[in-house]
């Protein structure tokens, strides 16, 4: 069965005089014509032909993107229309655009799981060959690796690269420097091991402050960060693709981190916040209220801080501390965030590709980084453009995990639920690992 939507516009029957029956016929015909016309014409682009339409998901980067688009128009004469639909409506609007065959020329590329159906359906240009040239050389290897669909990808997308990114994020620990100082600790000296970090958090707690918090929706990222102490990237990939079981010693030790944090009593409120705005609530507690000394978050948090708590700058960042009993060098979770995919069915596909190539050029990424606090994906962007609060994480950004496939969304959901259950002492580590195997098998 096919789900193609094609329709022809009907026109009302001409009437020589307007009798009642003729009037009703004309009204009926008009309604039918309007309804059928609204179904779309089966085209592949929303653009008018002369302008390129970019459906943008990001609110935080909208202004910077708009500025760069205007600059590009001035330089080349090619008009770029940025359609800022925002994060809440982006996927819904993109899905309805694909169903009506009315896709934009360019659209934001998010995580691989969400975008895979579009890539599978042929709505994204395969950039693999183009990335083999000088364009590809401008990116950090981690950005390219994490955006490459390999042959064993569980989404069954044809192997290749379908998006180009200008942000290379990473996740780590953010600490309130003055709270650390008040507890006799030096925030500029990151803890060498996880046990040292937990000791620091205990001291924070003794000083009467809330020590550490992270959102349930980021628990999978924390777990994956810490797992790199026990697994190589290939071993992580084997688990994420279901070739290896979650019930292994490495994962047991990884999840033990949650038990250790819980038993040390350093998780603020004794539970992980959940809900739609769980991470915003954590960020609010850290940046706005300064009610918690340390959080686990992504580098994009600095942009949130700059927008919502511009006066609070006394914080530092560092990667998740290494495990005391780790067998591998720990690596950050990250690689690629904001980027774009080009619609190959668009009449403007070549022009759109040129714009995306221009947008991801180091010069434009430098301009981007000046407007929005982020770690650029271009290797050549000078370090002074990286915000001071991100330098701790940025220093290790070359140590990003190069895992070919990510956890599927069903496993992510089960892991987040399991992390909450461990912190609440409702499930043991072994039970949660069993749940993850089940989620992987049933996905």
């Amino acid at each position: 069965m096919r789900r193609d939507h094609t329709a022809e516009a009907a026109s009302p029957t001409a009437a020589t005089f307007l009798s009642r029956r003729g009037f009703l016929g004309a009204v009926g015909g008009g309604l039918a014509a309007t309804t059928l016309a609204a179904c779309g014409s089966g085209g592949g682009s929303t653009g008018s032909g002369s302008e390129i339409v970019f459906m943008n998901q990001s609110r935080g980067q909208a202004a910077a993107l708009g500025q760069l688009a205007r600059k590009y128009t001035q330089q080349t004469g090619v008009k770029i229309k940025i359609d800022d639909v925002g994060p809440a409506d982006f996927l819904t609007k993109l899905q309805s655009s694909s169903q009506s065959h009315n896709m934009p020329d360019i659209y934001s590329a998010m995580d691989s799981f969400s975008m895979a159906p579009y890539y599978k359906a042929g709505w994204a240009m395969d950039l693999t060959e183009r990335m083999k040239g000088s364009w590809g050389d401008t990116f950090r290897p981690a950005t390219l690796r994490t955006t490459t669909f390999t042959a064993d990808n569980p989404q069954h997308v044809k192997p290749g690269i379908y998006s180009a990114h200008w942000e290379s994020p990473a996740l780590g620990i953010f600490v309130n420097a003055s709270m650390f100082k008040a507890a006799g600790l030096d925030a500029d000296q990151p803890p060498a091991t996880m046990s040292e970090f937990i000791d620091q958090l205990r001291k924070i707690k003794k000083s009467g402050k809330d020590p550490f918090w992270f959102a349930a929706s980021l628990s999978n990222q924390l777990v994956q960060s810490y797992a790199s102490n026990y697994f190589t990237d290939e071993e992580l990939n084997a688990t994420f693709t279901g070739k290896s079981s979650w019930k292994s010693e490495g994962w047991r030790r990884t999840f033990q981190l949650l038990v250790d944090l819980r038993d040390a009593g350093v998780i603020s409120t004794g539970s992980l916040p959940s809900g739609n705005s769980d991470n915003p609530n954590v960020e609010k507690a850290f940046f706005n209220n300064q009610g918690v000394a340390a959080i686990f978050d992504g580098t994009s948090a600095v942009g949130v801080a700059r927008a919502t708590a511009p006066d609070f700058t006394d914080f530092r960042s560092f990667p998740v501390p290494k495990a005391d009993d780790g067998t591998q060098t720990p690596r950050l979770v990250g690689g690629a965030a904001k980027g774009a995919a080009v619609n190959p069915r668009s009449k403007n596909a070549d022009k759109a590709l040129k714009f995306v190539q221009w947008l991801t050029d180091p010069d434009q990424q430098t301009a981007f980084a000046k407007e929005v606090p982020l770690i650029p994906s271009a290797r050549a962007v000078p370090a002074e453009n990286i915000p001071q609060q991100l330098t701790g994480i940025a220093a290790k950004v070359s140590d990003v995990q190069l895992v070919a496939n990510q956890m599927n969304q069903q496993v992510v959901t089960a892991l987040q639920k399991g992390a909450e259950a461990i912190v609440l002492k409702e499930r043991s580590v072994d039970q949660v690992l069993g749940d993850l195997d089940t989620a992987q098998r049933r996905a």
Binding site: A121, G270, A421, E426
Partner: protein, 301 residues
């Protein structure tokens, strides 16, 4: 001939409404059922038939069936607590000699807000650190009663249910108020002459007189409780550790997070059938109760 013309005109005038119902209700309904036998990722043009695979998958999904328990809790809370609160408020406002317009507006107001606004607002109110609820308790010296309302499994369902009641009481309130105003005063006068006071008047005059409204409000609040989604998604997203998970949230996750639209459709069909069955039971019970009491009311008249 004239009759035929009248029928034709009626058909033409009904046609737009019927077309709307067909496009926005009947076709999606049929498509939803059809989709439950297919596999679709939400984008692909191919939607192969998979027979009963989706239904088999749902039957084995312990999380979906586990979440039914919470739906029943929210349905029961909606049916009993939300309706009781709405009725008490409606009766109080009906009796009020002053400020009834003010209270009518205030009590109805929560239902005007969008679910997301309500969810975000209460997630702030119930925040364990800076929430107004805990801050108020601290101000009153009741530090011992401060709590992680949404983070503790013992209180999360109660907190979400309380928000649900607050959000939905306006709907029941306005209908109960209209129903109460519909009960003739002569019945109360007659009841007074027979010596009926407070509770007796409510039991034998007010309750039977409002039975038709109670029936419809009960069905609608029961269904609202069973289908609760937005409040849960914004407040807890099913957490902590799945304690507030509901079927609608599972359906949403399957479709929009896991890109498994066929499984989501199968869940919807099963859940929809459960809702229809429960609504039928509820209507039957209402008719049984209302039918008897209505006849008494008619006799009273």
């Amino acid at each position: 001939m004239r009759h035929r013309n009248r029928m034709l005109a009626a058909g033409v005038f009904l046609a737009p409404a019927l077309a709307m119902i067909a496009v926005f209700t009947v076709i999606p309904f049929v498509q939803g059922i059809l989709l439950s036998f297919q596999s679709w990722d939400g984008v692909s043009a191919d939607t192969p038939f998979v027979g009963l695979d989706n239904y088999r998958w749902v039957m084995d999904d312990t999380e979906f069936w586990g979440s039914m328990k919470n739906a029943v809790v929210f349905g029961a809370v909606g049916l009993v607590v939300a309706n009781a609160v709405s009725m008490v408020m409606a009766l109080a406002v009906h009796r009020a000699r002053r400020g009834s317009a003010f209270f009518r507006t205030v009590y109805y107001l929560p239902g005007v807000f969008s679910t997301v606004v309500v969810g975000v607002m209460f997630s702030w109110f119930l925040d364990p650190k800076i929430g107004i609820v805990n801050q108020a308790l601290k101000t009153l010296g009741l530090d011992g009663l401060t709590h992680n309302w949404l983070g503790d499994p013992k209180t999360a369902v109660i907190a979400v249910a309380a928000v649900f009641v607050w959000y939905h009481w306006g709907f029941g309130f306005i209908l109960f108020l209209a129903g109460r105003q519909d009960v003739p005063n002569e019945l109360y006068e007659a009841a007074s002459l027979d010596g009926a006071r407070g509770w007796a008047q409510f039991r034998y005059v007010t309750w039977p007189g409002m039975s038709h409204v109670t029936g419809i409000v009960s069905v609608l609040t029961l269904l609202s409780g069973l289908q609760i989604f937005g409040t849960v998604q914004v407040l807890t997203n099913g957490g902590p550790a799945g304690h507030t998970s509901v079927p609608t949230l599972n359906i949403y996750q399957q479709a929009f997070q896991f890109n498994e639209y066929g499984r989501a459709a199968a869940m919807s069909v099963i859940f929809g059938a459960c809702l229809v069955a429960l609504a039928c039971v509820q209507l039957w019970v209402s008719r049984r109760l209302g039918g008897g009491t209505n006849s008494r009311t008619e006799k009273g008249r």
